[in-house]
Each structure stands twice: as structure tokens, then as C-alpha cells.
């Protein structure tokens, strides 16, 4: 374990863009956890304070209701990160479980599961998510995360399955079978550690995918617009005419910048993980 972290640190230090990504992710996580303790949104705005230019009190100016944009950005971090993380956990768990079981068991379980995977991979995910979100119409983070994961697990399941199939013939698996270990042990103790690296990278990219779709739902107004998060901020900015006046440029662009920086940070950090786990890339 200590060796793992030493390797990780060495690769991050060598690849400055990945290091930047890692630092940014840590910052976002800290803001999501501790941010709401330090800043508060007033429940009713002051019309007189609308569209102020940046000042000491409001570092990024104010919106049409007179609330500080910086404050809203901080408060809006938690809901976005929360749902993104939950959705990634669901997709990773389902994908890995189905992939390992079908790859190891084979037979009719495999055939049926792979038909379902084919369907989930073919149906365009975003329209399906929009339709389900429109029918269910909930702002509960758990429900939202479950909706966002409706097709995301399929790609991971297929990749994990093909790795499990190639692992099945390796000696230590035969040894485990001969010892008569239970299925739980074989799948959890023997197979899982070997697909771990791929799963870790998929987990990070799963978060970016979920955030993409989640912000999209709020932008389109399909998910209920209650509370404060970046998607709702952009939606409100656009519906209040931010596109047609330059006054509220910051209100429109700040949440967009927050999303882009987070997504880019995740992608750059996942590249570092890729070279950590993939020795062929590491040698160069």
C-alpha cells in the first residue's frame, strides 16, 4: 500500500497536469464538505443589490436577486458532487458485479446478461435519462443518481467480463476452484483485485459522465429547479436573459467555469492513474 502511494506521488510529480488535476479535485471536495459551514445564502434577496460588479463583499458580483455569485457557487458544489459520486458508485458496483459474475459463471446467465448489456449500450442514454426524469420528476439525490446510472453500467460490465474470462484460465483461478472456495471468495478475493485498476479509472470517468448528464437535466429544466447548484444557476441566468445583456455575464460564466475546471481535473487525474496501473505506458 505504501509503495502504491509512493508510485502515485512519483507519477503525479512527473506529470504536472495530472498533479494539477489531483489538487483541484481535493479543493472541490473540501469546498463541497466544508463550504456550506462558512457561507450562507439569504433566503430573500435585495432587489437593490442586483447585478453588482465584483467587490470585496461579493468577489464575483451578484445575480438578479442580489445574492453573491461566489456564495452560490460554493453552496452549489455539494449537490453536484454528491449526485455525481453516488451515480458513479451505483454504475461501478452494478457494472463490476455483473461483469465478474457473467465472466466467471458463463452459460445462460452470461447469454441473458450480455443481451441486456447490448440493449443498454445501444439505447442513447441521455434521451432515456431525460424521459425517465420527466416521468418520475424527483429532486431526491438518491433517485437522481439512480436515474443517471440507468445505462452507464453496461460498458463497464462488458469490459470487466472480458477481463474475467481471460483471468478464468490462469493458474491461481484453477487453484482456487480445486480448493473448493465459495463463489463469494473467488469473485471478491481472486477476480476483483485483478480488474481493480480498470475499475478505478472508470469510476473517475463515471463521475464526469454523471455530472455532465446531471447539469444537463437542470439546464433543460427537466429535473425540478429547487435549491442551488451550478446547473440551476446557468438555467436561471439564461432564462433571466443573461444571453442578451452583458450585465450578468459573470452569473452565466462562473458556474460554467466551475464545471469545466472540475471535468478537466478529473480527466487529467484519471490519465495519471492510467499510467500508474499500466506498466507499458509507464516505461516511456
Amino acid at each position: 500500500m505504501r509503495e502504491f502511494f509512493r508510485d502515485l506521488w512519483r507519477i503525479l510529480w512527473a506529470d504536472k497536469s495530472a498533479l494539477t488535476g489531483a489538487v483541484l479535485i481535493v479543493c472541490y471536495v473540501l469546498v463541497a464538505i466544508f463550504g456550506p459551514l462558512f457561507v450562507h445564502l439569504s433566503s430573500f434577496g435585495h432587489q437593490s443589490a442586483a447585478y453588482l460588479t465584483p467587490s470585496w463583499h461579493h468577489p464575483l458580483g451578484t445575480d438578479s436577486l442580489g445574492q453573491g455569485i461566489a456564495t452560490e457557487l460554493i453552496v452549489g458544489t455539494r449537490p453536484i458532487m454528491e449526485v455525481g459520486l453516488l451515480a458513479a458508485i451505483i454504475t461501478t458496483f452494478v457494472g463490476v458485479a455483473i461483469g465478474l459474475l457473467t465472466g466467471y459463471l458463463g452459460g445462460w446467465v452470461d447469454i441473458v446478461a450480455m443481451r441486456i448489456v447490448d440493449i443498454a449500450l445501444t439505447i442513447p442514454g441521455l434521451p432515456l435519462i431525460i424521459v425517465i426524469a420527466a416521468v418520475i420528476h424527483s429532486s431526491n439525490p438518491f433517485v437522481l443518481a439512480a436515474i443517471l446510472s440507468v445505462t452507464g453500467w453496461a460498458g463497464l460490465a462488458r469490459a470487466v467480463r472480458s477481463q474475467a474470462i481471460s483471468l478464468r484460465t490462469i493458474d491461481f483461478m484453477a487453484a482456487a476452484r480445486i480448493q473448493g472456495l465459495p463463489l463469494r471468495n473467488i469473485v471478491g478475493r481472486q477476480l476483483l483485485p485483478n480488474v481493480g485498476p480498470y475499475v478505478a479509472i472508470h469510476f473517475l470517468l463515471g463521475i464526469t459522465g454523471a455530472i455532465y448528464a446531471e447539469v444537463g437535466l437542470f439546464l433543460l429544466g427537466v429535473a425540478p429547479l429547487s435549491g442551488t447548484n451550478w446547473g440551476i444557476m446557468i438555467n436561471l441566468a439564461m432564462s433571466q436573459g443573461a444571453l442578451y445583456t452583458t450585465k450578468s455575464m459573470l452569473y452565466l460564466l462562473c458556474p460554467m467555469a466551475a464545471i469545466v475546471i472540475l471535468q478537466v481535473a478529473f480527466v487529467f487525474f484519471s490519465r495519471a492513474l492510467d499510467s500508474l496501473f499500466n506498466p507499458r505506458l509507464r516505461v516511456q
Binding site: S17, A87, T91, R115, D118, I119, L121, T122, I123, P124, G125, L126, P127, L128, I129, I130, V131, I132, A134, V135, I136, H137, L148, S149, T151, G152, G155, L156, R158, A159, S162, Y198, H202, L205, G206, T208, G209, A210, Y212, A213, V215, G216, L219, L220, G221, V222, I234, M238, L243, Y244, L252, M256, I259, V260, Q263, V264, F266, V267, F268, R271
Partner: protein, 356 residues
């Protein structure tokens, strides 16, 4: 060959069947049943007999709410096979099929052109990157491209609208063509269509080409290490010849498979882009149906988007043997020795965009 084609067609038909069933059960069995909602709404308006209400619902969703569920399901499937998706609520008097038939060409046009643009640009950039791996150009482009591929396409669309249509008015604000131009194959109409489609296509392509470039770079680098390329070099063939016919063609194969997968992603993205540019395609109507709770139009759009994706996947699958004959006839090249058919799908899922 025939069994290859038959298998693909059967899979496609099966997926469409599943999606149609899904759309039925979503309307019929989800919490907050929309059919009952409509019945209650009509009942509250008064002066309608139960009979009339049933007929109204039947006209909109194409099934009788009083019939048993399995009966409704069969009727629904039967209607859809005949191309009857019911009537729209938010566009009174128009059938869903009619609205979709008008919208589909716009989506296919914009998505198709964007896919071709981003594919060609991405492949070209990726090949150059693979040919000059150590250059400063490649390092710079790699950074730019991985940055761009992490940016959501709807944010690019909003930025383009903000800076190019409002502040600077270089391009028209929305729609597919200018109002008042006679529709047909005349120059003013076509130029208006092109001018209106530049920004939507750009917002797909700016995000899309990076993925292709990175994939192509990786694929070309691994082909460059293959032995037949070293043999070609040893034979003294020109660098250009090697890059084009030895490396280029072979490293293009995986990209063609990805082409099919990325189509679904592009159709998904059309929801955002058409909404923001007011481009009257399927995605635009899907969102307007969601916002006005017009479920028959919504499900019609959803089914049609899926059918388009399945259909284009099928076309790619059927064209694939032309590019790589090994797929449909696995024994070619290994004379006399029968071997198990190679699955073309055993590839890792594309990076990014896992949800959509």
C-alpha cells in the same frame, strides 16, 4: 455472410421491440400514471361522459384505458408497427408521426454532417500526431484536445450563442432557416439553412474531434510498431506510402467500430444543442414535449431517436465487412482451417461519456 447479416438484423429488431415496450410501460405503469392524469383532467372539465373521455384518451395514446393491460400493450405495438404514434397534446390536431417526420431530417442532417466533420478532422489530426510523436506540436495539441474532450457540449453551445450571435451577431440566433424565405431547392433557402447550421454543427464538432484524434493517435502508434510496417520500411517504401496504405488503413479499423457507438452519444447531445439553438429537430421536440407534459410526443421522439441510432449501427455493421473482410468470413487467410468467428465487439468501452 448471410448468417452475419441475419444476426445483425435480428439484434436490431429485438432492440427496437424492447425500446417500444419500455416506452409503453413507462407511460402506463410509472408512478403518477399519465393516462389516469389525463382521464382525471378531462373528467374535471365536466360535460363529458365516461365514454367520451375514453375516446379522447384513445385518440391521444392510441389505447383504451379501460381494457386490460396486456390488450393495451398489443394494441400499442400494433399501432407503432403501422407508424401511428397517437396525437400530440401540445400541438393540437397534429399527429405525432407528422411532427416527427418533419423534425427527423433536421436532426439527421446536423448530426450526420457534424459526425463526418469531427471524424475527418480528428483522424487527420491524430495521424499527424502519431507521425510526429515527440514534436512540440503534438504535445500542445494533446493538451488542447484532452481539455476540449472534457468540456460538455452544451457549454460550448452556450458560449457560441453568447459570443457569436448576441454580442457580435455574426450568425443568426436560432431556427433552421430564416422566416419568409421560400422553402425549396433555391439558393436563398439553402444558404440560409447553411448559415443557421454552422453553429450547431460547430458545437458538436469542437467537442467531438478531440476524441477521434486521441483514439487515432493511440491506434496509429500501436500499428507503427507492427512487424509488417518494419518490413515495409526495410523494403525502402516511401514514408508517405507507409503512412497511408500500411498504417492509415489498418489503424482506421477500430475507429469504424467506434463510429457506431458515438452515434448514440451524438443523438443524445442533439437534445441540448437543438434546444439551445431552437433547431427544429427531434431533440428539440423531445424537450418541448417534456416541458408541456405531452407524453405521446415524448415517447414518439424517444422511440424514433433510438430507432435512428439502431438503424445507423446496423448500417455500420453491414458496411464493416467491406472494410475488413475478416469479420464476415473468419476463415479467409487461414486456408482450410475452420476457426471460431472473431467477435468485433470485444473492445474496451470508449473513454468518457459513459452516461450518455
Amino acid at each position: 455472410m448471410i448468417s452475419y447479416v441475419g444476426k445483425r438484423v435480428a439484434t436490431a429488431v429485438f432492440i427496437i421491440f424492447v425500446v417500444v415496450s419500455l416506452s409503453f410501460f413507462m407511460v402506463r405503469l410509472m408512478p403518477g400514471n399519465v393516462m389516469e392524469f389525463l382521464e382525471n383532467q378531462l373528467a374535471r372539465q365536466g360535460d363529458l361522459t365516461t365514454q367520451q373521455i375514453q375516446q379522447q384518451v384513445n385518440a391521444i395514446y392510441g389505447v383504451l384505458p379501460s381494457a386490460p393491460v396486456w390488450r393495451q400493450y398489443l394494441e400499442y405495438i400494433g399501432h407503432i408497427c403501422q407508424g401511428n404514434f397517437g396525437t400530440s397534446i401540445s400541438h393540437p390536431g397534429q399527429s405525432v408521426a407528422h411532427i416527427i417526420a418533419n423534425a427527423l431530417p433536421w436532426t439527421i442532417f446536423s448530426v450526420g454532417v457534424s459526425l463526418i466533420v469531427s471524424f475527418v478532422v480528428g483522424i487527420a489530426v491524430g495521424t499527424v500526431m502519431a507521425a510526429a510523436q515527440a514534436s512540440r506540436f503534438t504535445k500542445f495539441i494533446t493538451l488542447v484536445v484532452s481539455f476540449l474532450s472534457a468540456v460538455p457540449n452544451y457549454l460550448i453551445a452556450i458560449l457560441l450563442i453568447y459570443f457569436l450571435t448576441d454580442t457580435h451577431r455574426l450568425f443568426p440566433q436560432g431556427g433552421a432557416y430564416e422566416a419568409g424565405v421560400p422553402i425549396g431547392w433555391n439558393l436563398p433557402f439553402l444558404s440560409s439553412v447553411v448559415r443557421h447550421s454552422v453553429l450547431p454543427i460547430a458545437s458538436y464538432a469542437i467537442v467531438g474531434f478531440g476524441g477521434w484524434a486521441l483514439q487515432m493517435k493511440g491506434s496509429a502508434i500501436s500499428t507503427l510498431g507492427a512487424e509488417y510496417v518494419r518490413v515495409a520500411e526495410a523494403r525502402g517504401l516511401g514514408r508517405r506510402r507507409i503512412m497511408q496504405s500500411y498504417v492509415g488503413r489498418n489503424s482506421l479499423l477500430p475507429q469504424v467500430t467506434l463510429l457506431a457507438l458515438s452515434l448514440g452519444f451524438m443523438f443524445g447531445g442533439s437534445v441540448f444543442i437543438e434546444q439551445f439553438f431552437n433547431y427544429p429537430g427531434i431533440g428539440y421536440y423531445l424537450i418541448s414535449a417534456v416541458n408541456s407534459r405531452d407524453y405521446s410526443l415524448m415517447m414518439g421522439c424517444f422511440v424514433l431517436i433510438t430507432v435512428s441510432v439502431v438503424f445507423s449501427n446496423l448500417i455500420v455493421d453491414l458496411l464493416y465487412p467491406l472494410i475488413d473482410p475478416r469479420i464476415a468470413r473468419p476463415s479467409v487467410g487461414r486456408k482450410g482451417r475452420p476457426s471460431a468467428p472473431r467477435e468485433i465487439e470485444e473492445q474496451p468501452a470508449p473513454v468518457g461519456g459513459t452516461m450518455a
